[in-house]
């Protein structure tokens, strides 16, 4: 009886010690996290004086070029070097922040000359990971790009999309000089127009 009680007490003590150790560990972790957070805060406070480098500003300390407004004036697409390589960005002028464009900018590929439809759903741009760039259309509704010039053997420059997203005009070098080509995506596309005009 006495021995049993002693053993029970011992286990209790052991459990208490284990808890103590665990608590101490947790305490250390909390303390370390706190110190790290403090340091981070200190760092961010120190860097606040520098011009904005983040992507949440319209202008950065890098060059921001080739602006394209959406028809409704809510979005602005542009080309910038702010992420280390030349990419296309989309800025929401109403919410005042950049909008993510998943799968649009690809590592090692150029992306230039953006152009926007009325509500900013379609982004038509010049892209290429090969020698000859292609004209691509990015649909923000499905977050995917489609090559519009597949099968055309020519040089292309400066694509521009109509507000509804159906027509695309661009420069082509097929005849040995720059000419204008008009592309029709067909009446089957979903037009990017205000609700009352669809």
């Amino acid at each position: 009886m006495y021995a049993e009680g002693l053993a029970g007490l011992a286990t209790l003590v052991q459990i208490a010690r284990a808890w103590n150790r665990r608590l101490a560990q947790v305490g250390w972790r909390v303390l370390r996290a706190g110190v790290c957070l403090g340091l981070l805060l200190l760092l961010s406070a120190c860097t606040q004086d520098l011009p904005p480098t983040g992507s949440d500003e319209l202008n950065s300390r890098y060059s921001d070029e080739q602006p394209a407004l959406s028809g409704d004036g809510r979005f602005l697409a542009f080309v910038s070097n702010r992420d280390g390589h030349r990419s296309i960005f989309l800025y929401d002028l109403e919410q005042r922040h950049t909008v993510d464009l998943p799968h649009l900018n690809q590592q090692g590929a150029i992306a230039e000359s953006p152009s926007l439809s009325y509500g900013g759903r379609y982004i038509v741009y010049l892209a290429g990971d090969t020698v000859r760039p292609e004209i691509k259309l990015y649909d923000r509704a499905i977050q995917q790009s489609q090559v519009l010039t597949a099968g055309y053997r020519a040089w292309f420059r400066r694509p521009s999309v109509s507000p509804d997203g159906r027509y695309i005009v661009f420069e082509t070098g097929t005849r040995g000089q720059w000419d204008i080509e008009v592309m029709d995506r067909g009446s089957g596309i979903e037009p990017d127009l205000p609700d009352n005009r669809r």
Binding site: L58, N59, R61, Y62, S63, D64, E65, Q66, P67, A68, L69, S70, G71, D72, G73, L76, F78, L93, R96, Y118, L148, Y152, R157, R158, S160, V161, S162, P163, Y167, I168, V169, F170, E171, Q177, W178, D179, I180, E181, V182, M183, D184, R185, G186, G188
Partner: protein, 202 residues
């Protein structure tokens, strides 16, 4: 070799399956061709009365029935507006000037407002042309910087362009009256602000 051992009826079945497959591929590919983007055939005119000419035709924009572009068909690069429904060039009186080099035109959705970059004696500015009033306005008169690549909204109320005011290309947003839009675009330097005439209060 393997085919020879297959009894006659199954060989027949195989061929019908192949034919079916072939037909399906044909139908699918023709459907794909119908859905894929196609080029619009716009007549070429050696006399320079159409979209394309024997000279360089560049920097196109499309909206509704109009295509706006720059062409070397005249004595110097000029801005032209092509009507795709009437198949004619639209007159733009007072837009192109002999002493100005124009580039990068853009237009509002109905083609009424045309914004472009004009360079006179090495000084660049963003101009706005109103096709209804035939008036040309310099939007960046008070901006001491090189400017380029303007873009305009569908209703013609906002204009964005590149400016070199801070020693690098930045994007500025202005309204149709040449005033920076607050919060997005910083006002120009204090010295140039003081040069602005006082606007009459309504």
């Amino acid at each position: 070799m393997g085919l020879l051992h297959i009894p006659f009826p199954s060989r027949l079945f195989l061929t019908t399956v192949n034919v079916r497959r072939l037909l399906l591929t044909l139908i699918l590919s023709s459907l794909l061709v119908a859905c894929s983007p196609r080029l619009v055939n716009i007549p070429f005119d050696p006399g320079g009365r159409s979209l394309n000419s024997p000279f360089a035709d560049v920097q196109p924009r499309v909206s509704g029935r109009y295509i706006l572009f720059v062409s070397d068909r005249g004595d110097s690069p000029n801005i032209y507006l092509y009507d795709t429904i009437a198949s004619v060039l639209v007159d733009l009186p007072g837009l192109n000037a002999i002493d100005m080099v124009v580039s990068s035109p853009a237009m509002s959705e109905n083609g009424r407002f045309i914004v472009f970059c004009g360079s006179r004696d090495g000084q660049s500015a963003i101009y706005l042309y109103d096709r209804d009033t035939r008036q040309l306005r310099n939007l960046t008169e008070n901006l001491k910087a090189t400017v380029r690549n303007p873009t305009i909204t569908a209703d013609g109320s906002k204009i964005a362009f590149e400016s070199s005011a801070d020693g690098q290309w930045d994007i500025l947003l202005y309204n149709r009256f040449g005033e920076p839009i607050e919060g997005i675009t910083r006002a120009p330097e204090r010295s140039s602000v003081s040069q602005l005439p006082e606007l009459p209060q309504p």
